[in-house]
Amino acid sequence: MTGHGHARWRGSWMLLPGLGFLVLLFAAPLLMGLLGSIGIGMGQGGPTLDHYAQFLHRRTLQVGLLMSIYYGLAPVPVTLVLAIGLALLMRRPFRGSALFSGLYKLPMAVPGLIVALIVMTLAERGGLLDRLAGPLGLALPRLVRDPWGVGVIMATVWKQLPFMTLVITGAFASIPQDVIDASRSLGAGRWSTLLRVELPLAMPGISAAVLLTFIGTMGAYAIPDLLGPAIPRPLAVHMLSEFGDGHPGLMNAIGVVLSVFAMVVLLGYQALAGRARRLLGGAADGKDTP
């Protein structure tokens, strides 16, 4: 083996810790899930595509995919508007801003199950909100286990808002102040500058935050299980239910479908973001000449 070959091998060995971590915690469970979905392992009979056939024939599961997409998408606009508002609010220091910027991140540390229980306590029929509205003569609509999943959306917004705010705050902070000042000096007011300059420039960060929120919410099960309607249910809840019913193959097949969908969305985003990067950040093709 040549010296060059040795160097290459040494380089490969150095990659092992990182690569091993990915294989152990990401690729291996995914592979096990994939194998499980085609009847291999977990005490199943052998290779089969029956579980995928079941998925295709069970309408509740197909509707479940739509529900997963709905629960992934519906909280996004609300969270996005609130996160942008909070990011803009925290751009300039105000009295108590240090305390506020610490407090708003708290929901990130609270598990989804606890969030669901909090929302249930607040918004369930006979809950705190209902009791507060009662003396005022107001009757609140059904917010928990309602057909539109309002409770799920409320809980998801509460849970995801800090993360999205954090990412969007960073995206705004990366815009040079000179660019904002240039926009103002060219005749754009505060809102025009926000809409025409700051939001487009912060879009890579915003879109990444939206994507990660969407994918994270789409796979959540605790919040939709506790706060969503009994029918239809999202795929993550179906997975849990199939596991409980002793159908690991179908559970894995549902998981693979959900993962593939998330990957398709992710790859689509990567393709779009790459195109945008090439458009906005293409290398200067001229020499540094006047």
Partner: protein, 365 residues
């Protein structure tokens, strides 16, 4: 010509002529003062440079004029109207930034048209102005490119063109050339002067580069420590600075403490001559004054009995710079490159040729 509300010995104009008039404008951040009350005026078509070291308050002054920073006090009049309370978008001022500040998500064409769209300029007029700016800023063929696809020089020309299309009452330049390399800077400096002549736009330019200020400006406003120190034409400020700071900041100067008697100063090598300024007319008794003597205003002649001795020399082609020890002082003197070379260690006589000397005022800051 610039009219400066503070004292100025050259070419003052009446305040009525000023397009921009700044009176007592100040900026404080808590207890710290970024800009002490500043007064200055700029006449229509003038190119004025605010010159000073980093942190002297020159960019703060520009940002206050533009409106992106709020003044703590004072008034700003532009074309006869008070503007200090107006937001930036309602001031008829365009600014070119050191960082270019182009909108990375817009093509060159969209960057140039941005301000015109914001001001709701008619489409035909937009097209006409953009075409004109493209021509004078030499941007042909770049309109459909994105900023990231341009070189540093091209980006700066787009930033200039973006301000030019606005046809503002006042153009502000915040160190627009300082992010470019030396060769490119020189080229764009000439372009900026040409652009100013072509558009006739009243311009206020900020820089810490004294060569840039001298080459480009009708007038220079020297700042230090958040104050306007002195204002004048490049020639007047260089040859006859009034303040110690100006003398030291503009080029190399020999700052000398000289005794003054009967209106005459005595230089360290014994040469006597008239002195103007506050000290000159003072009493008959002996007084001291600080004066500035430029290296090129000292003539050296090889002479064994001379008062000075060459301690260092630097030949640059067009000139030779000498360091001359006179008593305890080391002075700089510059002779033309064609003059006979003097050796290190050689005794020389010195002769000042810039009379009368001018007594410098001490800085307030």
């Amino acid at each position: 010509m610039v009219v400066v509300m503070t004292r100025s010995e050259h070419g003052e104009r009446r305040a009525e002529e000023a397009l921009l008039r700044v009176e007592g404008v100040t900026k404080r951040y808590g207890a710290s003062v970024a800009l002490h009350p500043a007064d200055l005026s700029v006449a229509p078509g003038e190119f004025v440079t605010v010159l000073g070291p980093s942190g002297c308050g020159k960019s703060t002054l520009l940002r206050l004029l533009c409106g992106v920073t709020e003044a703590s006090g004072g008034t700003i009049m532009l074309a006869g109207q008070r503007i200090e309370a107006l937001p930036p978008e309602r001031r008829d001022i365009a600014m070119v930034f050191q960082s270019h500040a182009l909108f990375a998500h817009m093509s060159v064409r969209a960057n140039l048209g941005f301000g015109l769209r914001m001001k709701r300029v008619a489409a035909a007029e937009q097209a006409r102005r953009i075409a004109h700016a493209v021509e004078i800023c030499n941007l042909g063929g770049l309109l459909d490119r994105m900023p990231a696809q341009l070189s540093g020089g091209q980006q700066q020309r787009v930033a200039l063109a973006r301000a030019v299309v606005m046809q503002p009452a006042l153009m502000l330049f915040d160190e627009p050339l300082s992010s470019l390399d030396a060769k490119l800077r020189e080229g764009l400096r000439d372009e900026l002067v040409r652009l100013h002549r072509a558009t006739g736009a009243t311009s206020l330019h900020v820089t810490h580069d004294q060569a840039e200020a001298m080459a480009m400006s009708d007038r220079i406003v020297v700042m230090n420590g958040g104050r306007i120190v002195e204002t004048g034409t490049p020639v007047a400020l260089y040859r006859r600075p009034r303040h110690v700071f100006t003398a030291g900041f503009l080029g190399h100067a020999n700052l000398l403490e000289v005794p003054v008697e009967q209106g005459e100063a005595t230089l360290p090598w014994g040469q006597r001559g008239p002195i103007s300024g506050a000290v000159a007319g003072a009493a008959a008794g002996a007084r001291g004054a600080r004066v500035s003597l430029r290296p090129e205003d000292i003539v050296l002649t090889a002479e064994e009995a001379g008062a000075g001795r060459i301690t260092a020399s630097c030949f640059t082609g067009a000139s030779v710079q000498y360091t001359v020890q006179v008593g305890q002082r080391a002075l700089r003197a510059t002779l033309g490159g064609a003059a006979p070379l003097l050796e290190v260690g050689q005794a020389v006589s010195l002769k000042a040729v810039a009379w009368p000397l001018h007594a410098l005022e001490e800085d307030r800051s």
